[in-house]
Amino acid sequence: MIALLKRDLALATRAGGGFGLAVAFFLILCALVPFGVGPETSALRPIAPGILWVGALLSCLLSLDRIFALDHEDGSLDLLATAPIPLEAVTALKALAHWITTGLPLVVAAPVFGILLHLPGQATGWLIVSLLIGTPALSMLGAFGAAITVGLRRGGLLLSLLVLPLYIPTLIFGTEIIRRGAEGGDPTTPILFLAGITAGVMALVPFAAAAALRVNLR
């Protein structure tokens, strides 16, 4: 199973693997917002948590269709389905590989981009915490959407339509953590809700994604 994770990481970091795409998109978005709404702290500070989370979410969405589509095209998915690893583990590992190559760089880059949006210094810690807890759920839900649309040509739009509503709870609680952190309030409640969502998603979605894959391979 480690072999599958290693292969996906190697593929993502080699030429044409799309590593860094999410961070680049995130940077573009965070750099453009001050041009759009004006560079004043009073304008940027209230919307910074929302922009950061929406940016992370959209960057994550960008590479979702690659999770299964590439393996489906070259036949690896058929072979993985006949391999001794259960499909549930395959989906979980591929979501994990997606998180390591997409979610984790976002977590690392977000504090820097927070400066661009005049995010208060005391909220930076909460930004990291919220992304660290929330982004695994984004990758896992994305793997589910990718599993549903795997056989479709140009399935990207359908994938976004399917996945975005599922991202809304994560987005709401993720931004709430940063907003409360920025105002000096107590973010425990939204953290617990976000952690609960992520835990539930990680426990249940691999099975749903594997079931969707089985239907699609038929």
Binding site: L4, D74, S76, L79
Partner: protein, 210 residues
């Protein structure tokens, strides 16, 4: 104990029955070649045996995790080298000698080349070398010799023969002569499904969204 027993199998492609009433058994050391015109359902039947598709009717009996499947797509990653591709599948299937498989399909000289730089025939040879590292007894092969030259077809026949001698079995769909004189041939033409008969099981939701 036979490695594979198929009883009265009916398979459907796109909701329409392709072949029906197919029965055969495959013992260790045996090879069976499926023949028939295009579209009769050879690929569909092989996918059913490999467990990638559900049969419409009939039974397939075999030990769990005994199939190594190879189809038109070789499952290669262009960014990985020949050795990395093969080692990945060896690890996924739990062991298997990569060096030996490379030698058997004459890929040693290409071992460090990225799969993107291989020709179609070389890719196919790598796809077939993968069968060796799976360690599975039953090979299910769909047109294994596509884009192989004469020498490689011979090498492939030797590979299959060695697999059979080692207690394995092979089920193949192919149009060309592999030089495997001992292989049985099953012509699917008489099993073509008669039109107008409803599928054995209700199509259900999955079929509607397929």
């Amino acid at each position: 104990m036979s490695l594979l027993a198929v009883h009265d199998l009916a398979v459907a492609r796109g909701g329409i029955r392709a072949v029906e009433g197919v029965s055969f058994t495959l013992d260790a050391g045996e090879a069976l070649i499926l023949r028939g015109p295009n579209g009769i359902g050879k690929t569909t039947l092989l996918r059913c045996v490999a467990g990638l598709q559900l049969a419409v009717d009939g039974r397939i009996e075999m030990a769990e995790d005994s199939v190594a499947y190879a189809a038109h797509a070789d499952g290669l990653k262009a960014a990985l080298t020949v050795t990395e591709n093969l080692r990945f599948w060896a690890q996924i299937f739990g062991g298997g000698n990569v060096e030996q498989a490379l030698t058997a399909m004459d890929l040693t000289a290409l071992a460090d080349r990225p799969a993107a730089a291989l020709s179609a025939g070389q890719k196919r040879r790598l796809g077939l070398a993968r069968l060796m590292v799976t360690g599975r007894p039953l090979w299910v092969l769909d047109e294994p010799t596509v884009s192989l030259d004469a020498a490689s077809v011979e090498r492939f026949a030797a590979l299959v023969r060695a697999h059979l001698a080692g207690g394995g079995a092979a089920l193949m769909a192919t149009h060309i002569d592999l030089g495997l004189g001992e292989a049985r041939v099953l012509d699917l033409t008489p099993y073509r499904a008669r039109p107008g008969r409803p599928p054995g099981r209700p199509a259900g939701f999955n079929e509607a969204f397929a």
